[in-house]
């Protein structure tokens, strides 16, 4: 098994290189959906959850930034 470790690492490195392809135009949206279904997932639902996550994160960030701006405005202006 020890002897196989470097070989498994070579495969792992190749796999890493190839995994990045799913983040590029190498795979069409349809192919990505098919691969997700093959892995036992629901591509449609995953997409929806992702969208919802981003909407909620953006909203949270907007609120935090508004709060920050307001508390900056409350601070007494120095040098006046």
């Amino acid at each position: 098994m020890k002897r196989l470790q470097p070989e498994i690492e070579i495969l792992s490195r190749l796999d890493t290189v190839l995994a990045y392809d799913v983040l590029t135009g190498a795979y069409t949206n349809g192919e990505v959906a098919d691969l997700i279904y093959e892995a036992g997932g629901d591509a449609e639902m995953i997409g929806k959850r992702g969208e919802a996550l981003v909407v909620s994160l953006m909203e949270h960030l907007r609120r935090s930034s508004r709060k920050e701006n307001r508390s900056d405005g409350d601070k007494p202006k120095s040098g006046l």
Binding site: R3, L4, P6, E7, I8, E9, I10, L11, S12, R13, L14, D15, T16, V17, L18, A19, Y20, D21, V22, L23, T24, G25, A26, Y27, N29, V32, A33, L35, I36, A39, G40, G41, A43, I46, G47, K48, R49, G50, E51, L53, V54, L57, M58, L61
Partner: protein
Amino acid sequence: MKTKLNSPLDGDTDWAEVFRRLTLFAHRRLGVGADLARAEELASEAISRFLAVDRGARAQMGSLNLTHDLGSIVETLLSDHRAPCAVGDAERFRQQPPGQRAPTAQRDSDAVALSSPISLLAKGIAGDRLMEGIVLLSLEGILDASAQAVHLISPITEIYEARKRLSRVIAAIRAASQPKVSP
């Protein structure tokens, strides 16, 4: 239809597609038999971290490749301690006995279980000029598909297809190499 993936973040970003791809990427990086729910968690965490970075700071980072940057965050989250490509890997692959690199139609998992990963890889890609070229170039550190297209004097679309075939060969080898766990 929104299809922007590799561009910097803007209002047109198709987050559903980005999230699907990032989940699939995390799933592949988690390895054989990985839980898709865990992959989705990683994708969520990567997006949270990405968006938490101040917009101004992101702008200063110059031109961004959204999905690639998110992929890098997933890598960080996985805390993968991969060693850098070792010198001699390409050589080791080239030195496979000729018999083990001979063309064969046997690429099923039964055959996979009978030999070492590298000789199985050699068998799996034998006779496919592009897959062989991609393996050798990758082991030499030429990882980018467009650079590989130049080296192999082939259109990028053919390189993409060959990389997909190679990915399937590796997945089969890795699946067959997994220790069998009885229920």
